[in-house]
């Protein structure tokens, strides 16, 4: 299946069917879930649970009950660190991360290190921005957790997720995957990965902000203590204590992002219809075109970070352009209606490995085509005119 980019583009800049679904739901079925017995409350519950089933199918989870809705992927990873970490990690216990993690998969572990004295270990990078797995066995020796990104939000690197999950399990460690960047751009199969816990987010996959997901193996989710306490997550409450509801409600305290779940469901259906394999193939071709175009037009004036092989990278392209600061580059690009992220991308440790304070990052997705890449390159030429470098 190939992607019909022309027709995809007609639905953007914001996926209109997501907005339509949220408006329709808000106008006709807006009610709290899992409590009241009136008709629209039932419709709301059905819609919310329908979104959960769609997400489960989308990432090939064995059961929708293993999908927990959170606020975002950051909250999902904090849930893992707080809930699993609080019961399973103590002083000196090693947790293995990689040098290309987003702050969301670093700071929660730093917090546990400060509170409980866990030891953080880091998988280094090769010069072209892939994981250097040479010392993996030594790093995993005695480790309790391996938590890593399935796709770098800076370099686009796609690490060997299944291989890493297997290595973690061989070492007796929990395999946690930050799939926030991966899920929107690739076909995801949490069972084929052999992962234990997987975090991802709606806003990166054409859905609304304010809702994220954590998938986990049921036996783990059953055993872990709850994260946040309140309504919806209890079985019963007395003056003396409480018991928890079954998973997933156990991890969904308070009123959840119901309207956002409905919007996300529409986004997932959209992606499903396109086929994630087609999305990935499109992005591979486009990334190849972008890397070649930028290198050919700017030569040694541009430094592109991450692997050059599109089999092991996705379409986020971070670069340094001449000696211009990324904020100035992005300001010029904005003038040409090219929107890029400039900064540290919530990956400051990785920036230090790259030897820069910030990069400019162009992010390609299913709605982009080669004309967009040419526009990016043309706009970069404009920076030369202004700064005279």
């Amino acid at each position: 299946m190939t992607l019909d980019v022309e027709s995809v583009r007609k639905e953007f800049p914001i996926l209109s069917r997501v907005i339509d679904a949220m408006v329709e739901f808000t106008e006709h079925s807006y009610a709290p879930i899992n409590r009241s017995s009136y008709r629209i409350a039932g419709e709301a519950t059905d819609a919310y649970e329908g979104a959960r089933r769609a997400i489960a199918r989308f990432v090939n989870a064995p059961s929708p009950d293993e999908v927990i809705f959170t606020k975002n992927a950051t909250e999902s990873l904090n849930l893992v660190a707080r809930s699993w970490g609080a019961t399973n990690l103590g002083p000196g216990d090693p947790v293995v991360l990689t040098a290309m993690e987003h702050h969301a998969n670093i700071v929660p572990w730093h917090m546990l290190a400060a509170e409980r004295g866990i030891e953080l270990r880091w998988i280094p990078l090769t010069p072209d921005g892939q994981l250097d797995l040479t010392d993996l066995d030594r790093l995993l020796d005695g480790a309790k957790v391996l938590s890593f990104t399935a796709m770098s939000n800076v370099l686009g690197t796609l690490p060997p997720v299944a291989e890493l999950c297997a290595a973690a399990h061989d070492a007796g460690a929990l395999a946690v995957v930050d799939a926030c960047q991966f899920v929107p751009h690739n076909e995801t199969d949490v069972q084929a990965w052999g992962a234990d816990l997987v975090a991802f987010s709606s806003h990166k996959m054409c859905g609304p902000s304010g809702i994220g997901m954590l998938w986990g193996r049921m036996e783990l989710l059953d055993a872990m203590p709850p994260f946040l306490g309140g309504g919806n997550m209890i079985d019963t409450v007395t003056f003396d204590g409480f018991t928890t509801a079954p998973v997933p409600a156990k991890y969904e305290a308070g009123t959840p992002p119901i309207v956002e779940a409905v919007g996300l469901h529409a986004a997932v259906d959209f992606l499903d219809d396109l086929g994630m394999d087609a999305v990935r193939q499109h992005e591979k071709q486009l990334t190849r075109y972008a890397l070649d175009t930028l290198n050919e037009r700017f030569g040694d004036q541009i430094t592109i970070y991450g692997p050059d092989d599109v089999d092991v990278r996705g379409g986020v392209i971070s670069f340094s352009f001449r000696d211009l600061h990324p904020h100035d580059v992005s300001q010029v690009l904005d003038q040409h209606n090219v929107c890029v992220r400039a900064g540290h991308h919530c990956a400051k440790p990785l920036m230090s490995v790259l030897g820069v304070h910030a990069t400019t990052r162009a992010s390609l997705y299913l709605y982009n085509d080669t004309d967009d890449v040419d526009s990016l390159a043309d706009a970069l030429e404009g920076a030369t005119d202004i700064f005279g470098v």
Partner: protein
């Protein structure tokens, strides 16, 4: 959309390419203050050497270190030229005046502030048309304000 020529005025680019008063001062006798924008990663360090007491003290020397975009670096460079040789009281008035120019809310203006001459700093006025860049322009000035606080203690 405002044009880039409003933002990247020639004098600003000149200070970006050739920053003035770049370097460090020995501490003590100078004081050092570090400022950064956590969301974008820009960093400015101000070294300040003053002579005298209170607001009447004179800024004998100032050096700027750090890294960041053309706006943060050129603004700090222009700031260093503007305050050298001025009294601490005049430097504080200039900070208030500049922050008012940048449309920063909550600046407590004092009598006489309106008479403070901005000179070349007026070139940074165009930054206001690009609200996300205001924090770049103000970074050095907030760092200078911290340094002035230190000299008071």
């Amino acid at each position: 959309m405002p044009g880039l020529e409003d933002l990247y005025r020639e004098i600003i680019l000149d200070h970006y390419r050739t920053p003035r008063n770049r370097g460090e001062l020995e501490t003590p006798p100078a004081v050092r203050s570090d400022g950064h924008n956590p969301l974008c990663g820009d960093e400015i360090t101000v070294y300040l050497l003053t002579e005298g007491e209170g607001d009447a003290a004179i800024v004998d020397d100032i050096k700027i270190a750090g890294q960041g975009c053309s706006i943060s670096q050129s603004s700090a460079s222009m700031m260093s030229q503007a305050v050298i040789g001025k009294s601490v009281g005049e430097a504080k008035a200039l900070i208030r005046r500049f922050k008012t120019l940048m449309s920063i809310e909550g600046v407590e203006e004092r009598p006489g502030d309106a008479d403070v001459v901005l000179g070349d700093l007026e070139a940074l006025q165009g930054v206001v048309k690009f609200p996300v860049r205001i924090k770049c322009a103000v970074l050095g000035w907030n760092t200078l304000a911290q340094a002035l606080e230190q000299t008071a203690h």
